[in-house]
């Protein structure tokens, strides 16, 4: 079913707080997927997404959504940038502590394993390089759309993709140093 969320967003902007629920209902699956793929684990994805929704709600109430892009696209940008911020913070603090996800009842074990593997592969990349790579290679966006989502130019995204792929190639082609260890 196609729902024009712009009308719903206008109701939220007009003070109808409960109207925000259909926006969350309609977008939560795709944004959860995006956040999980970008940050590499479900617990952080939930936190980021919850904060992003809260920020989006405040922005709607403050009239900061101009309706030029679809609500889904606008939220996608907010979540993508929130994830990049989290990756930056994680890189600065270098903490490994993660809590358990709370809303992951519908996620299969295979997805958890794949996310862990993805996070391990991408952990050494710069946050924006990582985000560019995930948006293009996993989310399936074009470089132009990824640039729009991350607020960068298409050329910058192309550069980041080249750098990220080169770093990954080096990482996966490195010889195993622990071979033969008991």
């Amino acid at each position: 079913m196609n729902v024009d969320l712009r009308l719903v967003a206008a109701r939220v902007a007009g003070g109808d707080v409960a109207a925000f629920r259909p926006i969350v209902d309609h977008t939560r699956a795709s944004l959860y997927r995006l956040a999980a793929r970008l940050v590499g684990n479900l617990a952080d994805a939930e936190d980021v997404l919850q904060d992003a929704y809260a920020n989006a709600f405040r922005a709607l109430r403050a009239g900061q959504y101009d309706g030029r892009s679809k609500v889904e696209t606008w939220l996608y940008r907010i979540v993508a940038n929130a994830c990049v911020d989290l990756l930056r913070k994680r890189r600065e603090s270098q903490t490994d502590e993660t809590h358990q996800p709370r809303f992951d009842g519908l996620v299969q074990a295979e997805a958890r394993v794949a996310l862990r593997e993805l996070d391990t592969l991408l952990e050494s990349l710069q946050p924006l390089d990582r985000a560019a790579l995930v948006l293009v290679a996993v989310e399936g966006l074009s470089a132009k759309d990824a640039a729009e989502a991350l607020g960068a130019t298409e050329g910058a995204i192309e550069q980041r993709l080249v750098r990220a792929r080169a770093a990954l190639r080096m990482k996966t082609e490195q010889p195993e140093v622990n071979h033969g260890r008991a």
Binding site: R21, R28, L106, V113, L118, K171
Partner: protein
């Protein structure tokens, strides 16, 4: 007797037939490649895409988001319910205002009644 002897072979035939189509998923190939250390970055990215394609948070997530905006009960509240709630609030505030007005009027009436009595008593005393 012959039928009983034929039974095991029938079972085996059924077993063969039923297991003829057994094959592992693509993840098995991925797991084998990962085990021998031949997983490329592209494989990991493709697997992440495939495995996370249908993930979604539970319905409780929506409730938690709405609660963080002070709308925890908004889920169950339909239009008429919110109308009733609004009317109840209005009625409650009206009743409180009316009670305050009555108290004020009563105290005013009491004061003027006391004053009238005192004036009456004073005029009687003057007359006497």
């Amino acid at each position: 007797m012959a039928a009983r002897e034929r039974q095991p072979s029938v079972d085996i035939e059924a077993l063969v037939r039923d297991t003829n189509d057994l094959r592992p998923t693509n993840d098995f190939s991925d797991a084998v490649m990962a085990a021998i250390g031949k997983t490329s970055a592209e494989d990991v990215l493709a697997r992440a895409q495939r495995a996370t394609d249908s993930i979604a948070p539970t319905d409780d997530f929506v409730t938690a988001v709405m609660q963080s905006m002070g709308q925890g009960s908004a889920r169950a509240e339909s239009g008429w319910q919110s109308g009733v709630t609004r009317f109840s609030r209005f009625a409650l505030m009206g009743a409180a205002a009316a009670a305050a007005l009555c108290l004020w009027l009563s105290s005013r009436a009491e004061t003027s009644f006391d004053a009238a009595i005192l004036e009456g008593v004073a005029s009687i005393e003057v007359d006497e």
